[in-house]
């Protein structure tokens, strides 16, 4: 599924195909040589097919804030990235889990790049930060079931 999907990416996406090939060849370990370019989070830029960060804050900063912004207030241009800060849609934990795994419209699916525990960590982080105070915790089992 993952591989076939990547092969369906055409054209400019050929680079994605090439990076996917490294992963197929088993070259997904972090590069020691990256250390000199890394910030405090040595898990950054760990692999072309999988995020290396483990904790929720690091995952948010490496992925989510690209669109939802560092303050989680979202952004608007021709279209809008919704704010996650104070977002009532986060109340049902299954919703953000499904969004991360499967995407929706402008939100790309990123489940294939994350383990279940990473998905749980980042969803729990967003649901307890940025003015969100949801006390129920998403478990790895919840994520696994939602895949």
């Amino acid at each position: 599924m993952t591989i076939r999907k990547t092969f369906a990416v055409k054209a400019a996406g050929l680079t994605a195909l090439l990076t996917a090939l490294y992963a197929i060849a088993g070259a997904t370990l972090p590069h020691p040589a990256h250390a000199q370019a890394s910030d405090a989070s040595s898990a950054a830029f760990a692999s072309p097919r999988h995020f290396g960060q483990k904790d929720g804050a690091a995952l948010y900063q490496a992925i989510c804030q690209g669109c939802h912004m560092p303050d989680a207030k979202g952004a608007t241009g021709a279209g809008t990235y919704p704010a996650l800060a104070g977002n009532a849609n986060l109340e049902a934990a299954g919703y953000p889990v499904a969004m991360v795994l499967h995407g929706q419209r402008a939100m790309p699916p990123i489940g294939e790049f994350l383990d279940d525990d990473q998905v749980a960590a980042v969803v729990n982080y967003v649901r307890t930060h940025f003015g969100n105070h949801y006390s129920d915790t998403v478990t790895v089992a919840d994520v696994k079931a939602a895949r």
Binding site: A12, A27, H34, A78, G79
Partner: protein
Amino acid sequence: MVSSGMKRRDLLTLIGTMAGSAVMYQAATSMGLAAETTYKGPIKLDGNAKGASILILGAGVAGLVAAIELRKAGYKVQVLEYREKAGGRSWSLRGGDTYTELGGFKQTVGFDKGLYVNPGPWRIPYHHRAVLDYCHRYGVALEPFNQVNYNAYLHSAKAYGGKPQRFREIQADYHGHVAELLAKLTGQKALDGTVSKEDQEKLLESLRAWGGLDKNYAYTASLDSSNVRGYEKAPGGGVGGAPVPSTPASLTDVMQGGLWRYLGMGLRDEFQSTIFQPVGGMDQFPAALAREVKDLIRFNTKVTEIHQDDHGVTVTYTDTVKGGAPQTAKADWCLCTIPLSVLGQIKLNVGAKMANAISAVPYEAAAKVGLQFKRRFWEQDEAIYGGISFTDLPIAMIGYPNSGYGSPGKGVLLGTYVFGTYAMEFTALPPEERVKRALAYGAQIHPQYAKEFDNGVAVGWHRVPWTLGCHASWTEETRAAHYQDLCQVDGRIALAGEHASYITGWQEGAILSSLDAITRLHQRVVAA
């Protein structure tokens, strides 16, 4: 056969005039002219448009081409564009430009005069006949884009001690060892019964030439192999003119090093020579198209609703500069080229099938970084003129400028072009951090980076305000479920753009999609 008094093109035009474009296409294919494209030449929208009006949403290449052709066909055309200029993703950044991405992160480009980076499309393959035809018709000067440069590098942090290898050497060593192995198997009679003796003789002869094998069909340090992979000391003149062969890497080093992964890209149809780029930046292409229809385009216009009824289409928009109350534009028909990532958020009354298709397609993450250096060290120190070095570092590649060779001043490299997780991580960083990353990684390939860096600019495509992503990301499953629904005319509305093509991420897909959509719309208008 074609008679000598008539050029092939003339004959094709004649056939086209007499028998219609389908026959012309068949004829062109049989002459080996058109097999690699579905472009049928300049569009002919025959029949009376009856003064019909059309709203085109988006002034990227899909919208521009539609505006040009529909006006020619007799339509009253209005174009609404979110940006302050035409081109959409076909875009170049030059010195003095400012670019503010979503989140308000603003960059001012510090490149010298004449230097640029193309954050979006940067290549036009020779078989992208539609793009090339429009370039030729509207006077866009083209120059070669080098995809494969034998003297550029292939690099892995985990192979060859992290030392960049010349493309030429990796390719020669890979071919050489494969040729030697196949020659050995032939010599061991492993092919007997499968391949005839006569064919085996020709095979050996071809392997020797292709692989740079010596007279014993071995890939060794020899003038035969050096003639392909390069010499330890190149042939010269005078008393010291004798060449010294180089030493190939071992089969194990070649296979385990993994750099063979990069050899296939330039062999693919999309990346075979000849590839072009517009002189002076990719935006010269949409700029040329926009000159034809500049009186039709309303810029700084954000579409907020698209509504159709039995009588026509009403588009509601706001002026992003002047502000004020929402305004409306009306027409009989609408061609919408807005990216699906944006369109999916706009109120639109189409049927469930098209609505579901619009919502089903996410957009790829991609990042590019342009880096200006104080001198063109890649040419001066390393004899790399244009083309691309590839690496498994998160920058994925370094693209060298395909023009201005030998210029004494500064130069701009494409210091990152990456998709996937690395692109998402680049996008999540502030722009100046992306540039720092690109420098730190690239310095592992070009140590000159540290001393020669001048300034840089970085684009993460999910933060580009007018697209929210790089290009449509279809899968086999979503194609099967939704592609046809996306391409059908819904009432008075048709969609076009690279997302409505099988050449996603390329301008050719945008244009072919646009020409197909306006052809079908026009048929409705004529038949009505």
